[in-house]
Structure formats: C-alpha cells, structure tokens
Symmetry: C2
Subunit: 243 residues, 2 copies
C-alpha cells in the first residue's frame, strides 16, 4: 500500500505527526504537495482535493491521507487509522482508545501552542496581534505548559511497563508525537522549556530515545525533514519566551 | 451496561455532546457529578477520579465516561466508543472514520467558539479580556463561522442518501452534535446566526429534525437538560454579536 499524504509543503505543521509515523514504520508514502507541480504535486494538487465539488467526504483542512480509495483527515484520526497498519499501536480496543485519547490531548496542546502567536485570528499576521500574543503566551508558559507537560509526565510514570514509553512496553505513534512536541517547544520557547524540562525528565528521555531510532535519525538528517520555521505551529519569538 | 458520565455539573459544555447520544439511544446512564455528594456525586467524585494517583489511564479533563472497567476521555473519543454500542454510527470502518473526522471538526469549531470569549486565558474572567474578545469574535463571525457552517452544509448536501442526515440514511451521533452546535450558536450570537442561517438551510432543517425526535424532545423539556448559561462554551455577550 502506497500512502499519499497531503499537507502544506513549506512547514512541518500538523502533517509532521503523520510523517513521523510513516517514517518510523518505513512505510511507502508520497508527500504529494512537496512534489513538483509537473509531477502532479504542489499546492494545486492539494487544493484540487479540497475543492472537489464531487467529493462525498471532503476534508475541512490538511493534513489528509489517501489510502487506496479511502481519504482520512484530522491528524489524530489519521494516526488512529495508521496505528494498527504500521504496528504503532496495540490491537486491543482499550489500548487503541487510550492511545487516541492521549493523541487528542496532544491535539489540544498543539492548538494552544499555535494560539500563543495567533490569539486573535489565523488570518492576521503575528505583528497585528503582538500585544495579545504576549498576554496569551505569558499565561501559556505560567499555567498551560506545566499542566500539559505534567500530565504527560504523569502518564509516562504511571505506565506499569517501565520501558519509558507512553503505553505498554514498545514504541507507538503517541511516543513519536511526544518527541515532536518536545522538539517544537524547544525551538519556540528555549528559555521557558529549559526550565520546564527540569520537571519532565521522563519526556526528555523519551525524546532522546525516539531521536535515536535508526529510521527517525535517518529521517531527521534527511531533506525530507523540514526545519522549524516562522510559518508553522512552533515559532520562535524571543519576546514570547518569558523572562 | 450502565454508563457513568463525569462532567462539570453546572454547564452543558462538552459533556452535552455525550449526553445527547446517551439520551437519543435511551441508554442507562448516570450523570455522576450531578448527583448529590451524599449519593457519591458532585464535583468531589469527579476530582477523586482526576487526581487518583494510582490511575494508569488518567483523563486530562472532563468529560470522561466509565463503562465497566474502561474509562474513556475526550468528547470525540467517547462518541466514537459509544457510536456502535448505541447504534449511532455505521459498522464499516470507512464510515466510522468519516463520522469521527466530522466530530473532530466539530471539536475544532467548539474550541474556536469558546475562544471568542476567552482569547487570552481560561484562567481569566471574560471582563479581563473583553477588548481581545471583541477582536477575536469579529474575526470569528466574519471568517470562521461561515467557513465551518459552509463546510458542514456542503457535507450534508454531498451525502448521496438524501435523507437530510450528515452520513448515510439515518441519524448518527454527528447529527446530534450538529444540533447542539446550531442551538449553542443561536444562544451565543443570535443576530449573526440569523444571518448565517440563510446560507445553511440544510443544517437548520437537521437541527429541527433532531429536536423533534421523541427522546430528544423529552430530554430537552426535562430538568436533565441544563439551560445555556454564561459559564459554558456558548455564552451570550451582546457586544460580541456583531452589528
């Protein structure tokens, strides 16, 4: 099965959570919008899909994944779909619901991270909402960052299998997502994150364990991994990084 | 199977999407935090669960549902779990993924609706973020409300079964959620919503169809249905309702 991933070409964004799963599994996939337009790629390929008036299951927004005739959208839903196919989640329903529950909590966290630099509107530039961004980021660093990291650290610590993974004794898609969140927060808020990591040693160890997986290490060093930049979810504005 | 729903007792909030599914199905359930404390209810019962240091699958936030030994959190995940058990979603994986994808888009919509009155921080009062709320609500009404409603209207129109439901030829949990969204938006933004509904006749008809279901009509007239109020997701501040 060759998977087709559709996501904005210039950023890691929400698509990156899906890429990490595909890369770790060594799956056969095409990152469609990053292909040149003359090979059927680019943003036009993505927009054709979004705007297809005949589609009965249109996605609201990227990322979406094409798997044969099936089109699946919403990051956490894509991961839930891929999980058993890529051996990145256990088979039991209770474990799959738990993995998805954690992934949806990552979704909430990511939305709040995004809104630190865009608290008013995605349609406006950061520069047009700087003052509000400062207020929101201050609250985020004081209240929300420790709450989310503390929760995930607690989940790690409560896993009865003591292998350092979020669920059970082996790596799953949720671990890959935790890696991405820690990486992104380090890029966006280096000072605040350095402080927050003192209380999140399990997550830091998990981040390093994921980064050292052979396929992930190869991916991170490849041109397929886009660098963090100022157009994605995780953006570095020094004035938002606390004191 | 008696389900136990845990959610903040004073508001409809995210718990309402789960209540509507349980009510439509005539399921046996207890709304635990709305029971008196001397019958094991109230907020203490909810907090005991959240703070249980021995829990291996702790929820990040309400709502969560206890079904036998299983505890499931995240609204859309709960609905995905209940869907087949309450006959509110089709059995085929492709249909279940599609229903869940739409429900996750409702989740995104609901988060944006909430943030119109709390763009800076959930920990602050509305009065402490009024100016920012006005800016965010203006953008929401101009750009986001029409985009989300237009999307759901498109999905309704693209359903090859022409029964007026979101998916296939019979009512599912996503239809109940659409009812709740339309109801809540009418409460929060009566003027803006009256305008927006002119382009969403399918959703208005769906709202009315759901409201007329015997069990839903009985529920809405009962004391189990809390009224909308100024502590929930959908709040009415006239100054945010546009011109």
């Amino acid at each position: 099965m060759r998977y087709e991933l559709y996501y904005w070409p210039g950023i890691q964004g929400r698509g990156e959570f899906v890429r990490l799963a595909l890369e770790e599994a060594g799956a056969d996939y095409v990152d469609v919008a990053r292909l040149p337009a003359n090979r059927g790629g680019g943003v036009p390929a993505l927009m054709r899909f979004m705007d297809d008036a005949k589609a009965t299951h249109p996605p609201f927004a990227p990322p979406f994944l094409k798997a044969g005739k099936l089109v699946v959208a919403q990051t956490a839903n894509i991961l839930q779909f891929l999980g058993p196919r890529l051996d990145l989640v256990a088979r039991a329903e209770s474990e799959r619901l738990w993995a998805h529950q954690l992934q949806l909590t990552v979704t909430d966290f990511v939305a709040e991270i995004h809104d630190t630099h865009h608290p008013i509107a995605g349609s406006l530039y950061y520069e047009d909402q700087r003052r509000e961004a400062k207020r929101r980021a201050d609250d985020f660093l004081r209240n929300r960052l420790p709450k989310f990291l503390g929760y995930f650290e607690r989940v790690l610590g409560a896993n009865p299998k003591r292998g350092g993974y979020m669920i059970g004794g082996k790596l799953g898609y949720i671990d890959l997502s935790m890696f991405q969140v820690v990486s992104g927060l380090r890029y966006a808020f280096p000072k605040a994150m350095a402080r927050a990591e003192r209380k999140a040693s399990g997550l830091v160890a998990l981040h390093d364990r994921v980064a050292a997986r052979p396929r992930i290490a190869e991916y991170l060093a490849s041109p397929r991994r886009l660098p963090f930049n100022q157009w994605g979810i995780f953006r570095h504005y020094p004035e938002l990084d606390g004191k």
